[in-house]
Subunit: 212 residues, 2 copies
Amino acid sequence: MSPKKKISTAVIHRLPKYYRHLGELIDTGVQRISSRDLSLRMRVTASQIRQDLNHFGGFGQQGYGYNVSSLYNEIGKILGLGKIHNIIILGSGNLGQALAHYQYFKHRGFHIIGMFDKDEKIIGKEVGELKVMDIDQIPTFIKENNVEIGAIAIPKSEAKRMAELLVENGVKQIWNFAHLDLHLGDDVIVENVNLTESLMRLSFRAALEHRG
Amino acid sequence: MSPKKKISTAVIHRLPKYYRHLGELIDTGVQRISSRDLSLRMRVTASQIRQDLNHFGGFGQQGYGYNVSSLYNEIGKILGLGKIHNIIILGSGNLGQALAHYQYFKHRGFHIIGMFDKDEKIIGKEVGELKVMDIDQIPTFIKENNVEIGAIAIPKSEAKRMAELLVENGVKQIWNFAHLDLHLGDDVIVENVNLTESLMRLSFRAALEHRG
């Protein structure tokens, strides 16, 4: 089994949270933190934290705790941060615009460098610092720019075809907001943000609360 | 241990997917499906499906497969669907507007009935079928309407205070898009949609792919 198979979904979900909390600790001047204090802050057990970090070699010293900024940097490296990741957005509707205006992405090295639409009334318009381009320009734009991530912010009916277009042109990371599963080959990574399913999880947990 | 503690995050994530796939099967006229065919479609193992559904009593018959529409209805009930869930959105920026325009929510019983902002330039404007209201009106609006879910689509700096305002006024389900953890009491359910963390998971898996 290759190392990448061993990292569970739960760990993948916790890593960005460690990173965020450590960043907040740095902002408030904390240099060192015990696994107990980190666990109280994160609301996971200290042993869970140790287990999670042991996937990557562990970073604490017995009785000494964690050096906040070095742990922050190491987790950042594990997360593939510390370099620039260029993103293009397909779809310039409300969601595409919300993504284009989201301030935290750039701070983490995620740069939105292009936005595309098929609607002639919108092509050429400005969204923040971007000018909306015609989807026909996607292949050329990808060739000329180092595009790592394609965000799919278009309706379900077009999503599969447009995701395939991105993959054909060499994009290996798809950030999918459309309401369908995309299977684009073993070497393509798809991260889904399905808002309807998110609402269903909320209502499921509420229903469970009432039953339980 | 109460029943609600036994349902893992992974199961909670799969239930809406079962629901979506079963809905798609209904749309294409499929009435019965074997656990093997459902597993191929869902890309989880047949034994995983059986295990997941056994949490709720199981729904298949040996050698007979699943009745698609009855399984769809049962999972819908488990998810707390089949009734109307009223939502208010705090924040009428791009994200709030994207949520207000999202078509699938209503189809699943999630009705967005109010939108609030503190910006006087925006209050009174129309977003789809909604008229943006002043955040000062939130307590009255909650009293007069059956608000189940509050969506937090405002900056981090205001998010905690506004989420607390919702909870003080009786809202027990918070759909949080702000870039922080909200801890609002044991009886309040928070579903987080953290887009920066979603991007980090994508870049983590891409970095892992290169290493692995």
